[in-house]
Symmetry: C2
Subunit: 218 residues, 2 copies
DNA sequence: TTTAAAACCGACCGTACAGTCGGTCTGTTT
DNA sequence: AAACAGACCGACTGTACGGTCGGTTTTAAA
């Protein structure tokens, strides 16, 4: 049973690094010391390894968010939205391999034919978009977020915006880390209803406890 | 020579649909009617097919942008930025397979070891980000874009934002087409320096000539 | 009409791959 | 101590893959 976790760990790295087809069972044996037989003892196929990883990513991501939301309170919907996006970017750094896997073309292709895969992907995306949407709705009620767009659309725009930066990071395009504060600023601009208060005014310059992306700007 | 273009066309679709490793030479022969020998007569390896496609995408994308910029004039940097983003989303729809390829993990991995691949990717990204940056700088000069962020950072944020939506579209996540106008609105919010004029005020509600994403909302 | 280059063909080759299977070893239950 | 279960092993199998090569057909220049 010890080897099983090692296999999952190695497969996560290899799949995210070389893609599903680009990674081989042979590499997993080398990385884990487990024999081929062991791998197919624990998982009935290469595909099942991927599915298991996706399930782990799902529970990990949703679990992390649930905990974050339990431990934090927010004055306004806008503040909460900023916290959530910030935490999303932080998580993307913490679970980098998982996020790359989530974003890989093959994963989305597989979801079209594999119900389990689709279930996990949908669970993740729906959880996030719903959370974004609810938070925006709250912000629209308390007046911190503009009301001239539907919460759903704003949620999708913000989600795709945040995800865009995650892609940048995954592919080491430019210095995505240095864009962290700029992205939060932009999200505020997108949402803000009235005369913007600067972030310095609002919260005395303190950053969120988790620190956002790992390599933030000075 | 007729078969060569057929091979490129088929490979573009197969690579973008199944990934580089997921697509096989055998499938290309089936789709094109060309024999294996023919394929390797025109391209020395499977990888060279991909490289050639990337070169085509590069020249196609840059050529399309050059033409668009020649044929259009803009009152302000902000207007121009909106036009460019709009055209970028339009192109992403027109050259969907090419964009998917551009975004695929394997392509970025290959760029790390293959100089030609790196060259084409860099040419594309640098062209776009530079264009974004110059346009924003112009907008900051003419006062249409806020000056409290560097053009470079704003360019990267906008680029990753637009790309985020392109990913959404590629993976058929939600209805990305319906987000087209919302995205342009958001980009304006990110950039705008002063009291926003609504897009209806600005240009009488006329959409750009190319029509943006194919399935825009009503 | 000869000649040559280039487009095209498909049988063939070596290999790397996912998955199998008969078996050993270890810990637990009875 | 017998019986069982499950973790673990690695040689083996079939095959699908990228790439080769000797050859034929097409094109077009000389």
């Amino acid at each position: 049973m010890f080897k099983k976790t090692a296999i999952l760990k190695a497969a996560t790295r290899l799949f995210s690094e070389n893609g599903f087809h680009g990674a081989s069972i042979g590499e997993i044996t080398k990385l884990t010391g487990a024999a081929r037989g062991t791998i197919f003892h624990h998982f009935k196929s290469k595909e099942e390894i991927l599915i298991t990883i996706l399930e782990e990513v799902k529970t990990g991501l949703i679990g992390a968010f649930d905990q974050y939301l339990e431990e934090n309170e927010f004055d306004t919907g806008l503040d909460m939205m900023e916290g959530i996006i910030s935490f999303y970017l932080y998580l993307a750094g913490q679970m980098e391999d998982g996020f790359i896997l989530l974003h890989q073309h093959h994963t989305h292709k597989l979801a079209e034919v594999n119900p389990e895969c689709r279930e996990y992907l949908e669970a993740i995306y729906n959880y996030l978009v719903d959370l974004f949407e609810k938070t925006i709705a709250r912000g629209q009620e308390d007046g911190s977020i503009r009301r001239d767009s539907s919460p759903r659309k704003l949620a999708l725009i913000l989600f795709s915006t945040a995800d865009g930066l995650v892609y940048f990071r995954s592919y080491n395009l430019y210095d995505a880390g240095a864009l962290y504060t700029e992205l939060l600023k932009s999200c505020r601009k997108i949402l803000e209803s009235r005369q913007p208060r600067t972030s310095r005014d609002r919260r005395g310059g303190s950053l969120p406890a988790h620190g956002g992306l790992s390599n933030t700007e000075s």
